[in-house]
């Protein structure tokens, strides 16, 4: 049971890390253009705030998985690798982030 919990916490943390990094990337005009192909309509401060919020939210997940000592070390490592993952996606397959950009556009309409 603990193994299942450990694995789901880990994958949850990595998935959240990727989403958070993707939101931070989409909050920047340059990457928004690469992903959607259109000019950004408004400032996406919300995306940035949620992105950072998620990045911070991963810390309790790491601590829940490994305790404070290891969790505090695991946290920045997961954030770094997620950011690299998103950078590679933007460089190779930016279309993968399109669903997220559609979600972000909705509140404006």
């Amino acid at each position: 049971m603990t193994i299942v919990l450990n694995i789901s916490l880990l994958f949850g943390a990595i998935a959240l890390g990727l989403i958070g990094a993707a939101l931070l990337a989409l909050s920047q005009d340059k990457h928004w253009r690469v992903v959607t192909g259109s000019a950004p309509k408004s400032s996406r401060r919300l995306a940035r705030q949620i992105g950072w919020g998620i990045a911070i939210l991963i810390l309790p997940l790491c601590i829940a998985r490994d305790g404070a000592s290891f969790g505090a070390l695991l946290w920045p490592l997961i954030l770094q690798l997620s950011a690299v993952g998103i950078a590679i996606i933007i460089a190779t397959n930016p279309a993968w982030l399109k669903p997220l950009s559609i979600v972000l556009q909705r509140p404006e309409q």
Partner: protein, 543 residues
């Protein structure tokens, strides 16, 4: 405004020149540091006789000490150190240090208490790890050079953040479809910026790990010359800098050596009591990891039961319980103070002696990214100069290029050769009066020096050629491991023996990356041989 621009261009200038001058050293330190993260799996790979699972059997410290005491006359023994098995080492170590003769090291198989044959290789922990901290230079020279490297890295992190500030605005940018110069700059910025937390933590912790050694040097000087061995200054320096930390995390307990000899009391009860003390103090099961005996067999001898490297937390521990060796009475129970706890976290996150495979792999990847940051910085520097001087490149560019290639692909090829030599040279080999352990080191340095010379002759072509050598060596190492030990990848993965499977997989992955990266790294070489390619191309200003 102008002052700002001056400041930034000054930082850019500083970053590129310090990087070019010290970058080769930094790559070497980071590369061997990254290897050190995996030194125990590398040890298992290089020492096939130790490829067994750790036993649950208790370590019989009394039997180990009794055997050690009878090797040579007891009064010649300075210290005996016993190291328990850990997550990566399935056997115990005993090191016996003598007053006037060479130390003796034993490897004890806990399954039956027998001794393993002496290791015929230095392995990861005996060669790659010392390379990281001393570069195998004599005396303290290596320590100072590595410290200089660490301080320079801090300078590069700060100046680099200012020099490449434009990138921080466009975080996540990596243009793969551009010229080598552009994509190497992107990669340098991306890897440098995203991994800034890791770079910073690992460098700061690396510097503070040894602070007890070099920061105490002026005090020691005062102590020896001005104060004429004033005891109060000695206590001050010990308290401030935890002297002895650099070498042993349980500082030796100073006692007068007696004239009389004495039997060593049974160690079992001491270990039990020490573990009970820690378990009660921390509310968790605490196990001893090290036992030290200072002048055993002497009436003034000391035993320390220490918990230097707890497996279940990041921090190294400073717990140590000291006993009188002859009577077994408790002398002193050492507890870390708050400042020391901060330092033990920093040391612990740098040494990564805990049992956490996930963090270990993240470290390994982060370390490789650090190497990539340094290497791409070099590639950008030389590629920019190649564009400008495509017809005739100045000596400084050729020189930097040779050093760079020798330090990057050359270091990697030499490390791969170290592993290949380990499997290629039979045990008990003797060539020019040198045993296998020494021949492996020779193979390493021969390849390393050859790669610098090769780079000096071949220029930018050397990138591709040395990457090709790395790919060949990586695949050969995996095949040789299969042929000489029978532990091929399918078998090690099937039985879940990850230390060896992991090394094999990383070797194959490294060979693949080298084969893939080589041709693109030499793109600048084509510019060099066909100057018309770059004629008329606008030179973009360096960032």
């Amino acid at each position: 405004m102008n002052a700002h621009r001056d400041f930034r261009s000054a930082m850019t200038w500083l970053h590129s020149w310090v990087g070019v001058l010290i970058g080769a050293l930094l790559f070497v330190i980071f590369w061997f540091g990254t290897m050190t993260v995996m030194m125990y799996p590398i040890d298992r790979w290089m020492m096939p006789e130790t490829r067994f699972e750790s036993s649950d059997a208790e370590l019989d410290a009394d039997a180990i000490v009794e055997r050690a005491l009878n090797l040579k006359p007891q009064d010649q023994i300075d210290t005996i150190e016993i190291i328990y098995p850990n997550y990566g080492v399935p056997y115990a170590h005993a090191h016996i240090y003598y007053e006037y003769s060479d130390p003796v090291s034993e490897r004890i198989d806990l399954r039956d208490g027998s001794l393993l044959d002496p290791a015929q290789t230095l392995g990861g922990s005996g060669f790659l790890y010392p390379m990281h901290i001393t570069l195998h230079l004599p005396g303290n020279l290596g320590w100072w050079i590595v410290l200089l490297g660490g301080l320079t890295m801090l300078l590069l992190l700060v100046t680099g953040t200012i020099a490449h500030r434009k990138f921080l605005v466009d975080f996540f940018t990596f243009r793969t479809n551009r010229k080598l110069r552009r994509s190497s700059l992107d990669l340098h910025n991306l890897a440098g910026a995203i991994f800034l937390p890791f770079h910073f933590l690992i460098v700061v912790s690396g510097i503070t790990v040894w602070v007890g050694w070099y920061a105490s040097l002026p005090w020691e000087f005062l102590h020896k010359t001005v104060s004429n061995h004033n005891p109060s200054i000695e206590i001050l320096t010990n308290d401030l800098f935890n002297k002895g930390d650099a070498y042993m995390h349980y500082a030796p307990f100073e006692r007068e050596i007696s004239e009389e000899t004495a039997q060593v009391a049974a160690l079992g009860p001491m270990i039990e009591q020490a573990e009970a003390i820690w378990t009660e103090r921390y509310g968790e099961i605490a196990k001893a990891t090290h036992i030290g005996l200072d002048h055993p067999g002497n009436a003034g001898g000391t035993v320390v039961i220490a918990r230097e490297t707890p497996q279940n937390r990041v921090e190294l521990s400073r717990d140590g319980v000291f006993y009188d060796a002859a009577s077994g009475t408790l002398l002193y129970d050492k507890v870390a103070n708050p400042v020391q706890i901060v330092r033990t976290w920093l040391s612990g996150m740098h040494f990564i002696q805990f049992d956490h495979w996930l963090i270990r792999w993240f470290y390994f990847i982060s370390g490789l990214v650090s190497c990539l940051t340094i290497a791409t910085g070099f590639v950008f520097w030389t590629a920019s100069r190649s564009d400008k001087h495509s017809a005739k490149r100045p000596f400084k560019v050729r020189f930097v290029e040779a050093v760079t290639i020798g330090a990057t692909t050359g270091t990697i090829a030499a490390t791969a050769m170290f592993l290949v030599a380990n499997r290629l040279i039979p045990e008990g080999a003797d060539l020019f009066g040198r045993a296998r352990a020494s021949l492996e080191v020779w193979a390493f340095f021969v390849i390393w020096i050859a790669s610098v010379l090769h780079a000096a002759i071949r220029g930018a072509h050397a990138w591709r050629e040395q990457c090709f050598v790395i790919a060949i060596l990586g695949v050969s190492a995996v095949l040789l491991n299969w042929f000489t030990t029978g532990d091929h990848l399918a078998a090690t993965i099937w039985t879940g023996y990850w230390p060896v499977a992991g090394v094999d997989l990383v070797l194959l992955a490294g060979a693949f990356v080298a084969a893939y990266a080589g041709p693109s790294l030499s793109r600048s070489a084509r510019h060099h041989t066909h100057p018309q390619n770059s004629v008329g191309q606008p030179i973009e200003p360096a960032e």
